[in-house]
Amino acid sequence: MIPEIGTGVLLVALALAVYGAVVAAVGGRRGRPALVQSAQHAALGVFALLTAALLLLIYAFLTFDFSVRYVASNTNLGTPFYYRITAVWGALEGSIVLWAWMLGLYTLIVVLRHRTTARELYPWVLAVMLGVLAFFVLVMTVPAPVFTRMAPVPADGRGLNPLLEDSGMITHPVALYLGFTGFTVPFAFAIAALVTGRVGDFWITTTRRWTIVAWYFLSLGLLIGGWWSYHVLGWGGYWAWDPVENAAFMPWLTATALLHSVMVQERRRMLRLWNLALVVLTFSLTLFGTFLTRSGVIASVHAFTQGTIGVFFLGFLAVVVLVALALIAWRWDVLGAQGELDSVISRESAFLLNNVMLVAATFTVFFGTVFPLLAEAVRGEKVSVGAPFFNQVNVPLFLSLIFLMGVGPLIAWRRASLENLKRNFLGPVIVGVAAAALFRLLGVGSVLVAGSLALTLFVAACIAVDLFRAVRARRAMGERALPALGGLLLRHNRRYGGFVVHLAVLVVAVGVTGSQTWSVHTETTLKQGEQAELAGYRIRFEGLRESQESNHGKVTGTFTVLNGKAAGTVLEPAKKFYPQEQSPIAYVDYRLGLIDDIYLVLGDFARDGTSVTVKIQVNRMVSWIWLGGVVLTLGTLLSVLPERRKAA
């Protein structure tokens, strides 16, 4: 029965979403609150129905209902309890269910938060949200139906992809989809602003928090994806410039640009058109990413399911872009800038440059990702560009962005005087130059590495100078240092939340620089009792053993680290043998450290158990990247707190 109920629920949800979108638009156009009210009810109904569909699917997974093809494909009787729930989004169809449910949730929050505050925009916001929702429910019913029956009903399912049996895979898609779907809200407000002609600053200040939240979840999704890649895939890396990664990275870049350009509009009434374009671009890129990864036009290591779904997304993407462009053209005369750029040496100019760099980075990532398509179309050659291309082109862009990150928040608006520059940047520049000189003297890495690290110190010094000065001003008024700092962070939470996020980016940057520069690896065959040495660590192979887990067999190697801080650490990398898999899956074991990660992958073993081939890596400063994620979370929390700035 479950499949039939599920399909029925989705069909009703589709009808309701379409109805709601139409009625909200008509209500907005004719100024009829009753119609908008009805659309609101439809939105609530759609959310309830999507929740029901999600619960039905979870129930089917928990009860091993193999009459549902999707359940049979992604679980088996041995799948552990938690992974049976997360298997819901283990493949395409279920991912769309989760995606649509989140969109429904966001729509609900929009209804609750904005139905009285965004009067004129609201009907159109609702119409757009429901329209997008209708598209996703349509995808759930036509190209990617999740409740398709399977006949005959198999006795056992195929099982979840072993690589997805991991905590990172529980959280990574959730965070990523919360980010992707979150950008629908600013997009809906942008379209509403264009339709109503209220393209002033209201829509953009209203959606600021939404953009931050979506941006945060997308950042978190990217970081967790990196963590998953690092500790599951066994290649010791966290980012490969794979098309799937790029697909998620591009909207992140444009959203980062948006977060900054919004401030210029709030403060100087400039960049109206630019901000609208960025919102539309970010939302379009989330759709493009899905198209790219699901249509199979680009070969990716991730090899997702392919099908007609790509066509649906491409079609929807075309509609979104055309409608947005038409609306922008229609409102062209009211989109003109009101403010003017006064000087090149100013904060708005720094922000503008930041935006140019971010959009340039987006373009290079886009170009590199679709390059195989272009090359094939233009020259008939099958060519691709790999990680070296992306690194080479993006490193200068990202270094400039880090530099701007130090300059932007401190430089004066409108026109910075020489006095202002000296007051703010003399100290940090001295710190940066001294650090660069010191690094070179100590022989720390290449010029590029020493320069990059010095640059992060320069930015950190900029942040420190600002904080120090603000705290000193409060102390002059009789406050003590720590309460002064706390009060500062809470009162000006938007500004200092941003600073903390910048700090997080610096920490991640140091992690990336360090790991790319100083990580070392080796591969060797060891007999029982033999040792290998890498980067000063001696590691002994103790032996192999075999065990049987709930849904797989496992051969585990035991290794002991003999010296250094990690002395006595036992690492147990393994090979897992899943019955549904043709070949074993490596299970990595590692010891994480602030500087050194010791990371072992079992490559191969002799069938008599006396020797193993093991990959040993000492990865440097990778933990800083995950640490950056924690700092990022704190900074985001601080910046979305309600502003407390009152007459202090």
Partner: protein, 144 residues
């Protein structure tokens, strides 16, 4: 004010264009099949060679970490050598993409072996549904 920004924008656009052009020419990797490679091999050029790992061609020497196999498209087979173990999912009779260079000595030197990881699986054969037999031949049961 205006011309200054135009000049600035043009400089940035030119710099970006140059970086992209330089990046593409330096890191382009050409996809070839074994037949295409043997028809016109260029030593030192970066290739991605795709095909099936020929049955019976796989040789692995754990002591020296030398891995050798042939990649075939049914017409031509190209000998490939690699230092180190192959990734998961790699095996005889299965598809593989190897990245590396053609050498003058007449073999393909792989720097990277790519195995696709998919989120969905083929159905297990009914006969293979039984739990796997002992994987290690002579090991005793785990000591703990």
């Amino acid at each position: 004010m205006k011309p200054k920004f135009l000049v600035g924008g043009a400089v940035i656009a030119l710099a970006l264009g140059y970086m992209i052009w330089a990046g593409v020419t330096q890191s382009a990797v050409y996809f070839v099949t074994p037949s295409e490679l043997t028809a016109a091999p260029v030593a030192g050029k970066a290739y991605r060679l795709g095909g099936l790992v020929e049955r019976g061609s796989l040789k692995w020497n754990p002591a020296t970490l030398d891995l050798a196999f042939s990649v075939s498209d049914g017409k031509t087979a190209v000998p490939v050598r690699h230092k180190g173990t192959a990734p998961d999912l790699f095996g005889e009779g299965r598809g593989a993409v190897v990245e590396g260079q053609w050498t003058r000595e007449g073999y393909f030197k792989a720097t990277l072996i790519l195995a696709k990881h998919s989120e969905e699986y083929q159905a297990p054969h009914p006969t293979k549904d039984a739990p796997p037999k002992r994987i290690l031949d002579t090991l005793e049961a785990p000591p703990r």
